[in-house]
Amino acid sequence: MDFDRQTKDRAFAFLRGVGIAMIIFVFLGPILWIFLTAFKPLSAVYTMSLWFEPTLDNFRQIFDKPFYLGQKLWNSIVISAFTVAIGVPTALAAAYSFSRFPMKYKKSLFFGVLATQFIPPMVVVLPFFLMFRTLGLLDTWTGMIWINLSIVLPFAIWMLKGFIDTIPIEMEEAAMIDGASRLRVVWDIVLPVCVPGLFVAGIFCFIFSWNDFLYALILTKKEAVTLPVTLNAFYTEEGDRWELMAATGTFILLPMFAISFFIQRHFVQGATQGSDR
């Protein structure tokens, strides 16, 4: 009886291990493929071989004529950085107002903010194109930062409002009675307590603008082209340059890995904050 049970358990453990391995492979396989391919010489690209002589040739090529990845990388960094730098404080201000101040039609307004999130990008990208053409914002950093903000702000506002709602109002009232102005209350009390929420909002803003393909594809041409759009350039006359795409892909992926590592460290600390009343 006992013996039977043990074998059963062992068989189950084995099956479970296989299942987990398969799931991991499905999720991580493509990423592994990109990293490997990025370092493969042209001759090895179409083999699934794990043994090849790694080369940095692909990286040299993408930074050179005609791809000039350096410029695109810089575009992506600038656009994403400004989206975060403008988006997070703006979202905090809006979220705080929605959370704390009485206003007319607050529910409808807040729903309106959120509803913009439900519009399919494909539907609005053409009006945006026309508008940007009129305003001379096509293919500019300003235009790209603007469009990214219009996408990330609603979600960031909604998320931060939820966060601020959980901060006991007594903390702010105590600070006001202690002599702080409203602005000072936000700076001294709300902001520090919101840090975990601000990080999540910031990371969300960054990931969206960093990964955005559709808007950048249609609203940029040459000067403000971002990394994901660059991938398009590798469908060349000599065929699809998988190894160059993979090399570019690693650049797109790297910040994501950095971020997930960072999130892990930060959120262990963040989870316990604000829990004390």
Binding site: E173, M176, I177, D188, P192, D276, R277
Partner: protein, 352 residues
């Protein structure tokens, strides 16, 4: 230090009335308690004094100066909240120092005053801790220290002890009393706990539905309640209230039992109030009434007897040495000097 005056103050939210046209003077250095059940408007009244809430009507004055239009930060009041309202990201030191820091107090002075405030609440050893590493009682001390670190004109305390466990509440109450005697700052204290009101207050205002029912020293509120609500709210156990009428100078219960002589002209629909400690229990045959023991409860310091006569039950507080059995017959009499009659319809006290 300030005298706080409220003139015809009201607070309404739409049709809901929080505080209804109340006037009140809190004297300088007085410990003033607002007492009432939840939703009676006591906290709203205090929040209007703090500046966190604006009155719909009426004036609030500190030392004769109207402060209605001053923001909370400019009124120079200090407040202790029920759930402490500590700043979780600051240390105890940071929390206590914050009101001084905001006001631009010089560093050296901040240091000495934080030390002094922390010493007064016995938290000197915890200055480097964050609030989350403190117990409930310690957090409340920090909140207190933050309030006393500057000398505010008025102290406001919103149920400061009600989040503490029963034992701690009693010891903190004594500390509060000691502290307030030492500081001599006008204090307005909101509570629903009548024991806190009795023990701490110089004067108490008992509130119900936005209206002050009675205002006076605790003993006066206890010994001379103005109406049924105050009589029932103050005292533990609650005052015994017996419905009946007065005929030929005696109080007759609804069940028709003639109980005790009262010095009042005949009238119907009367409530007789008598506190548990003013009911005297005798051996069978003694006293004015023959009753039976419905329940015997020994609390250790007292014996509480619930006695039944007719449909009526009353609770008596008796000597802890008393031993009675359920259904045992005993005699009962009321202390004639401590009887209260109320009109059952208006709920007002009937005075003779």
């Amino acid at each position: 230090m300030a005298k706080v005056t409220l003139r015809n103050v009201s607070k309404r939210w739409g049709a809901f009335i929080g505080v209804d046209n109340q006037s009140l003077v809190v004297e300088d250095k007085e410990f003033f308690v607002l007492l009432g059940p939840s939703g009676c408007g006591k906290t709203t009244l205090m929040r209007m004094i703090s500046g966190l809430e604006m009155p719909t009507d009426g004036d609030i004055e500190f030392d004769g100066q109207r402060v209605n239009d001053e923001l909370a930060k400019d009124r120079d009041v200090a407040m202790v909240f029920q759930n402490y309202g500590l700043y979780p990201h600051m240390t105890v030191h940071g929390n206590i120092a914050y009101p001084l820091k905001v006001r631009g107090t010089p560093k050296g002075e901040i240091e000495s005053r934080v030390q002094e405030a922390a010493r007064q609440v016995e938290m000197l050893d915890f200055l480097d801790r964050k609030p989350r590493a403190l117990s409930g009682g310690q957090r409340q001390r920090v909140a207190l220290a933050r309030a006393i670190v500057r000398k505010p004109r008025v102290f406001l305390m919103d149920e400061p002890l009600s989040n503490l466990d029963a034992k701690l509440r009693v010891s903190m109450r004594a500390e509060l009393k000691h502290l307030s005697n030492a500081l001599k700052i006008t204090t307005i204290y909101v509570t629903h706990d009548q024991v806190e009101a009795m023990t701490l207050a110089d004067r108490v205002a008992v509130m119900k539905k936005g209206v002050i029912q009675q205002l006076g020293p605790p003993t006066e509120i206890f010994d001379d309640p103005a109406n049924l609500f105050v009589a029932g709210f103050i005292g533990s156990p609650a005052m015994n209230l017996i419905n009946g009428s007065v005929r030929n100078g005696r109080f007759i219960t609804m069940g028709g039992t003639s109980t005790v002589a009262v010095n009042t002209p005949d009238r119907e629909r009367v409530v007789l109030g008598v506190r548990a400690e003013d009911i005297l229990v005798h051996e069978e045959g003694g006293g004015d009434l023959n009753v039976s023991v419905y329940a015997y409860e020994n609390t250790g310091e007292n014996v509480m007897l619930t006695l039944q006569f007719g449909q009526q039950r009353v609770t008596a507080r008796t000597d802890r040495g008393l031993r009675k059995k359920q259904d045992e017959k005993v005699g009962l009499s009321f202390n004639p000097d401590r009887l209260y009659l109320f009109d059952a319809d208006t709920e007002e006290r009937i005075r003779t």
